[in-house]
Symmetry: C2
Subunit: 340 residues, 2 copies
């Protein structure tokens, strides 16, 4: 009997067992969207698979469009009070949260281990959300990110530090981005439209109605969508965690009082001073934070360089110190009473 108990207790404290997480369910769904009708296009004949008979395609008809894909991982015993929704930035997908380009575990896994049910989605039009015919349904045309564009934009190094040849690339001296994995990071890029903000917002708002109450963590372009989702459904959002948001509501047009009950945290990496593009984006966000505080709410800032943590890029959830930054975010969530 004692031996059995000893064995049972030993099994409970094995390091390997301690690293596992107990999952109740992994699944996904699509939310939002509408049916759009296309008329007047000519029919065509197509062979789908080698060996298959040709198939006459009529491109006209009804199409399911503008929905959004969301995958969830539900824990057996979540320690967080509400699920954590993770919204990615422009030209990317939910993969942002799943992995780092050098193959370390992503923030999805980090926050699962911390006890959060996690919902990782792809913005409307990106990744598994699918995309629609243009210009008939999406206005304009898609934009494709070059392998080098992000080098300056994501503050890996100076914009003129980019070079096709990896050995010739010049990064910031103390950059924490896993530089050797830059091309691998490029594989995460997906095309985007710049004309679909309204549809993206509608799909996110539909997700909030379906999956919340929740905490929303977002990155970059996801910022404005999440700030706005909180304005649109303040009763559904328990906190907003903005990782380098590229936009925020204009206090002259949006009522910050609506979100004064929702604690906000904004996280910034390094090299923003002296980068006019990012300095301007940050000013917009700080104006919104100021409005929230003026309304009596909480709008904190986690400025990593000010905390002595140097070298973080715009993709800080992929930087070599990604777990260190995540732990600071987790600490903030705990302090805000979001954990049981």
């Amino acid at each position: 009997m004692r031996l059995l108990l000893a064995a049972a207790l030993a099994a409970m404290t094995l390091p390997a067992a301690a690293q596992t997480i107990a999952i109740r369910e992994i699944g996904s769904f699509h939310v939002g969207g509408r049916i759009a009708t296309i008329e007047g296009l000519p029919t065509r004949e197509i062979t789908f698979t080698a060996g298959a008979p040709p198939f006459r395609i009529n491109p006209n008809g009804d199409f399911q469009v503008e929905q959004m894909y969301v995958q969830y991982v539900k824990l057996a015993e979540p320690r967080a009070r509400v699920p954590l929704l993770m919204w990615h930035g422009g030209g990317l997908t939910g993969v942002t949260w799943e992995t780092t380009p050098d193959g370390r575990p992503g923030w999805q896994m980090f926050f699962l281990r911390q006890g959060h049910d996690v919902y990782v989605g792809d913005a409307m039009e990106r990744g598994r959300s699918g995309w629609a015919r243009f210009p008939e349904i999406f206005a304009g045309e898609p934009v494709f990110r070059t392998l080098g564009e992000g080098w300056g934009l994501f503050r890996i190094g100076p914009a003129d530090g980019w070079n096709t040849e990896p050995a010739q690339r010049r990064a910031f001296a103390d950059s924490k981005f896993p530089l050797a994995a830059w091309n691998q990071f490029g594989k995460q890029s997906v095309p985007r439209w710049v004309t679909t903000d309204a549809q993206i917002q509608r799909a996110y708002d539909a997700l909030v109605q379906q999956a919340c109450p929740c905490v929303i963590m977002m990155h970059s372009q996801g910022g404005n969508f999440a700030f706005t989702a909180a304005l649109n459904a303040p009763d559904k959002v328990r906190a907003i965690i903005a990782i380098e948001p590229s936009g925020a509501p204009d206090p002259a047009r949006a009522e910050a009082t609506r979100v004064k009950g929702i604690p906000h945290l904004v996280v910034w990496g390094d090299y923003i001073e002296g980068n006019p593009f990012w300095a301007r984006l940050r000013t917009n966000v700080e104006r919104w934070q100021g409005a929230i505080r003026e309304a009596g709410g909480v709008a904190d800032t986690l400025d990593l360089p000010a905390r002595g943590i140097r070298g973080n890029s715009h993709m800080l959830m992929m930087d070599t110190n990604s777990d260190q930054v995540a732990a600071l975010v987790q600490e903030w969530m705990a302090a805000k009473g979001l954990m049981r």
Copy 2:
């Protein structure tokens, strides 16, 4: 002491605990692909985010293209000898395996519970794999599936049974597809090219080199890619499970002896007799199965109607009896020695 042990044993046998699965890691990666260069296109000015300064876009440059996205869920203690790779069909993504359109758990969850490490990917060009500029990188143009196209093609009902109005749709009398969720299923559709088979195959072959030894389960258009992947790396593939494959290698061009050591299972749903399109596709597959058997290999067939299981559509992993069909597949895997 006895009380403690009793409590420990009770915790081990709680129904809720029995339903959970112990996970070691969830993550993802992109595999394969190449860098393509585009030249000679004009520059354009674009505003990415409301409030952001306009940005001059040069669409020329180097692009990371033709990679494939794969997500994995690794169990703490897998009972299967090798991981299970799940490859979806045409016009869809890995979502095929994650859920059913009426919200029941998908086959990914079923096979995780059975003890398999599971890798669910998106074919090159679909979902989180991203897609590339056309016609410069992908030849031709994308094809979009109408909401009604799959009704006949996936054998939900007669092709002329489709109607925009849900109440007016005519399904086969004993169809097991969750009919009320048809429009929700439509949200899983993504555009596809019909000119990219070679690139899709290359990415799958790269995945096999990275993630195998493995068992490959595939659906529909994924069939030919998986049969071919086994031919290209017979030492890496332990079994092939083909769910309604839409294509197979031509025995006159491919050497079945190469895969005689790999047990194959082909699963068919209902309504194929009397459907000339599917009857012809099935004949191609049976010819390949015959060649494998002639070479001394195993190429089994699970014909659901012949087993007395009626009403399954082409999307049988989403049909209301999806768990019943999955259990038969699991039984076959166990019989083939693929479980510990």
